[in-house]
Symmetry: C2
Amino acid sequence: MKIGILGTGIVGNTLGAKLIELGHEVKMGSRDANNAKGKAFIEANGNHASQGTFADAAQFGDIVFNCTSGGASLDALKMAGADNLKNKVLVDVGNPLDFSHGMPPVLIPSLSNTTSLGEEIQKAFPDTKVVKTFNTMNCKLMVNPGLVPGDHDVFIGGNDAEAKEKVKKLLSEFGWKNPIDLGDITSARTTEMLLPIWVRLMGINQSPNFNFKIVK
Amino acid sequence: MKIGILGTGIVGNTLGAKLIELGHEVKMGSRDANNAKGKAFIEANGNHASQGTFADAAQFGDIVFNCTSGGASLDALKMAGADNLKNKVLVDVGNPLDFSHGMPPVLIPSLSNTTSLGEEIQKAFPDTKVVKTFNTMNCKLMVNPGLVPGDHDVFIGGNDAEAKEKVKKLLSEFGWKNPIDLGDITSARTTEMLLPIWVRLMGINQSPNFNFKIVK
């Protein structure tokens, strides 16, 4: 499958490399085409890797991942272009973290509690099928659930059932067998609100290798 | 031990009944002494149960539980009185849920994200040792961790190490053996932010009998 990834940071890189390993073609998109991170991604991942602008990556992908930082995501997606994202599945793994108060971060007030990054993206791009997932864990764990032993959970939410099925299939390729479907995109606010305790637990555990499990 | 419970709703009732079963003396406090719920608590729980105003219960307890609804907690605690709470451990199990937007609830904006109910209580009562715990689960599970099979977690946070040790001892009487200590009272914001996903999961599971586990 052709996959566009918006954001050439560690999250985009990690997801992109794994998707290529799984046999997909990946175009990394960033603000400036031909930047150092995009070039390094191609060098590291070979023929199935390419890079370009946000718009190039969005146009390329049958499925597009938002891996930009939460506070910059809406702008990055505007640069990607509504037409390039039209009718496509957009997997939003971002979190609206606000580091302006120092550490630990809080959530950006205008993107939390009564709304969320996922919801605001869906509102801004009504013809795109936004699916929120993977935002409650470190990116190394996204692509390798075995990094944390035993059973633990990934959440998924979005308005379009078919889009969620496509993303669940990708999740299963990564090794995630039973994602918890939280319902529509308003559920994004509930998973983005897990970030503050996640950040705190990372400090306590001195490692990002942990995850949430819902025990019942 | 003498324990004061502020709030005669289902949470206060459930904790109070279990504390009496464990051999403690419990005074239930409410806005109006001698209300029907307070009297029913005494009838149901015998000689070690008593009731009175918020102030009566706060004065009575060596440890005091805040089991009032989050939006009303600061007012209830003012009625309980700073002098009656001075130097005492106040176990805050409340959550700042805001039902004014309908269901599902959001968090009260002035009591979330950059602060929390637990923090605001600690600020308002600086001579009281506020310990946040138990707010991430249904009250039946608080007093009976076996209600959900296997391992799962309770969180605890507060500024005073000795106060947390006292509360951990109570938690162990309830059957909670390894609470996750999240640090100071600012951690209350991180556990209160678990409520939105908790509410959503309760709807999906059609049961409150589930809990979070941190797997690492």
